[in-house]
């Protein structure tokens, strides 16, 4: 149960476990963003869920083609913003009115108006930090080791390569059938990626 949940969460980050034969998945290369887009649509329609596409730039509409919903990063941004706002309010009130009160021309020790700039700045600071941190966590980054790096061709992915990988731990995955299916989708090159532990 817990193991399944962990596997599901990791899959959402694009991290998949290898199967018993150390197969990580099948990596298929496509010619251009259009071909990759249609292939992703078909792979999803065929019933595969644990697969990912890789491209040098985000492809418009790919989330929908892959059947992925909206990113949840925004909730963390909101949370970070509220935290920053609360921190700034507390900090200014506690230091100014409680532990270190200084009378300046009889002005109130704490008031909302002069506190607004710092409330604003800390809201932004923590919202931004939560956004970046949340994005990295949700993506499972930093991830120094990735079995896909074993593939020579995969180096093109940050230049002009368009790839689709079906994970070996997908329910529908079958070394032969998935491969044939991807070939039919028009992949220009296909290889099996092994996840070799302690190489």
């Amino acid at each position: 149960m817990l193991k399944n949940l962990a596997s599901e969460v990791k899959a959402s980050m694009g991290i998949f476990e290898a199967d018993a034969d150390d197969n990580y998945g099948i990596l298929a290369e496509f010619e251009n963003p259009g071909a990759l887009y249609h292939a992703a649509q078909d792979v999803h329609n065929e019933g595969y869920r644990r697969f990912d596409t890789y491209s040098p730039f985000p492809i418009h509409g790919m989330d929908k083609a892959m059947g992925l919903g909206n990113s949840k990063v925004g909730y963390l941004t909101l949370g970070g913003g509220f935290f920053g706002l609360a921190l700034a309010t507390w900090l200014q009130w506690w230091t100014g009115a409680i532990v270190y009160p200084i009378n300046v021309s009889g002005k109130p020790l704490f008031a909302i108006e002069p506190s607004i700039p710092i409330m604003f700045e800390l809201t932004i600071l923590f919202a931004a930090a939560a956004t970046v941190g949340g994005m990295l966590v949700m993506n499972g980054l930093p991830r120094p080791f990735n079995p896909l790096f074993y593939s020579e061709r995969f180096q093109k992915v940050t230049d002009d390569g368009f790839f689709l990988a079906v994970a070996a731990n997908d329910k529908k995955f079958n070394l032969v059938e998935t491969r044939t299916f991807l070939e039919r989708m028009g992949a220009v090159h296909i290889e099996v990626i092994k996840d070799i532990p302690n190489d």
């Binding site: 694009g14 992703a40 896909l148």
Partner: protein
């Protein structure tokens, strides 16, 4: 994106706006774009770069020398006197912070407005922001007199049980600028992750691969990652937009919240923000005109990009000029004699030379950009951008010095003259700026490669549907196995 009309004309389907000139000229493929930008970080260090770096770092060491001299002797080595207790340090601080604003405007505000032309220039502009803010942060750090207690500026728990005064605009400034720096740095780095991965995958040297690998954090261009990444980028842009407007507003509070005639005006926040964007764009033009030529990336940073920046310079320059005139009007209209005197003194007093330098550089010179021919001329825009840089420095000088040097009490009036240490410290910050900028140009991708690829027409997946060379579903299923 895929409407019936764009599907029929696939060659224009990537562009969102109607324009005769493409954003990336020269008909480049994805690989060409990667190659063009990346090879500058991979080739052997050019002699010209080494020479430029030697000059820049020498000037930077001048800054370090001046700071050391200052620390040893105290702020008496500066030209500050009794009424003018804020001199070059604050002028330079505001100048450098202002420069930074264009970077955030390009990266955040233009992103929210879906201005795709920003992709060619945003990386350089953001780098400029970071380095300019570093230069700015030097001054509040060193101008406090007793530098060993500079940490009092931050709310750090200490054995004295002492806390900063949160009702002071100067403290707001500490927060505004440091938050601005931190968020800009995050924004810049996040934007660079995919390109660092590109450099990692291209590198043949082991060490380079390791360094870039660590910086890229294992980026693979996975769509599951792009999904969160794009959302995060959008949110960062949305956060940075009010932030950039707030930073110079808060900087202007340093002046506006005081009761000094010439400072105590409500127009300051918007006027400072417009001025900041104005000066920042001028600096971006200055830097890009040179670097696009040196690095041969005229196809990515085209004359059209420069022209658009010049239009923004014209717009913000006119806003700033309008603010100068409004200030004058309000001073007269207020009926306050101190306020009126401050402005008459600004324009016709002992600092009239600085005032009219500011007026001509900021209000008059950019008006030349009304002419299309002039705003598309590299030489003209370079010269004008230099004028704007000078004019905007003088604006801060005029605001700070002319308002202070004649206060309410005529017996304490004085004339402020900077010392050699003042001038050399300021010159030194240019060394600091260009040292960082040259390192950036040498080791990091100066154009957002993945973003530029993303705005080319062939990046649109529907570009291939009807053009015949694509692999639309029906097409591949018919032809069968071809691998």
């Amino acid at each position: 994106m895929s409407t019936a009309s764009t599907a029929l004309q696939p060659e224009t389907s990537g562009a969102d706006f109607h324009d005769e000139e493409p954003l990336v000229s020269g008909n480049m493929s994805f690989h060409d774009i990667t190659e063009l930008v990346s090879h500058h970080t991979e080739k052997k260090t050019p002699r010209a770069w080494l020479l430029a770096f030697a000059v820049a770092s020498t000037v930077m060491s001048l800054l370090l020398l001046m700071i050391a001299y200052l620390f040893w002797n105290g702020v008496g080595v500066w030209g500050l006197n009794n009424p003018v207790s804020w001199g070059y340090a604050i002028v330079n601080f505001v100048f450098w912070v202002g420069i930074g604003h264009a970077g955030t405007l390009i990266s955040a505000i233009l992103f929210l407005f879906r201005q795709q032309w920003r992709t060619a220039i945003n990386r350089t502009a953001e780098a400029m922001t970071i380095f300019a803010v570093i230069c700015a942060l030097v001054f509040p750090g060193i101008h406090v007199g007793r530098v060993w207690v500079a940490y009092w500026m931050f709310p750090i728990p200490n054995q004295m049980g002492m806390w900063p005064q949160f009702r002071s605009p100067l403290l707001w400034d500490v927060f505004a600028v440091s938050v601005y720096f931190t968020v800009s740095l995050m924004f810049w780095y996040v934007g660079m992750i995919p390109d660092l991965a590109t450099l990692r995958d291209r590198s043949s040297k082991k060490i380079r691969q390791k360094v870039m690998g660590v910086l890229a954090m294992g980026w693979t261009g996975s769509n599951r990652h792009w999904r969160n990444y794009e959302k995060a980028y959008l949110l960062l842009a949305a956060l940075a937009t009010p932030l950039v407007l707030s930073v110079h507003s808060v900087v202007s509070f340093d002046f506006a919240v005081s009761i000094v005639p010439g400072w105590h005006t409500t127009i300051f926040p918007p006027y400072f923000v417009a001025g900041a964007i104005f000066s920042g764009f001028a600096m971006v033009v200055t830097l890009l005109v040179i670097s696009r030529k040196v690095f041969g990336i005229e196809n990515i940073i085209t004359i059209k990009h420069l022209e658009r920046m010049n239009i923004i310079i014209l717009l913000t320059g006119s806003m700033v000029g309008f603010a100068y005139i409004t200030e004058f009007f309000i001073a007269w209209y207020s009926g306050v004699q101190y306020e009126q005197y401050a402005f008459i003194n600004r324009a016709f007093g002992p600092y009239a030379w600085a005032y009219w330098t500011m007026m001509s550089c900021n209000l008059l010179v950019p008006q030349l950009f009304w002419f299309k021919k002039l705003r598309r001329s590299i030489v003209v825009m370079f010269v004008i951008s230099i004028f704007v840089n000078i004019g905007m420095w003088f604006e801060r000088f005029v605001i700070v010095v002319t308002s202070l040097h004649r206060d309410y009490l005529p017996s304490s009036w004085d004339y402020y003259t900077p010392t050699a240490v003042d001038v050399l410290t300021f010159v030194g910050t240019f060394g600091l700026f260009f040292t960082f900028f040259l390192l950036f140009l040498r080791f990091l991708p100066m154009v957002a490669v993945s973003e530029v690829k993303g705005i080319t027409p062939q990046a649109n997946p529907h570009f291939y549907d009807h053009s015949g060379d694509g692999q639309s579903v029906e097409h591949t299923v018919e032809t069968g196995e071809n691998s």
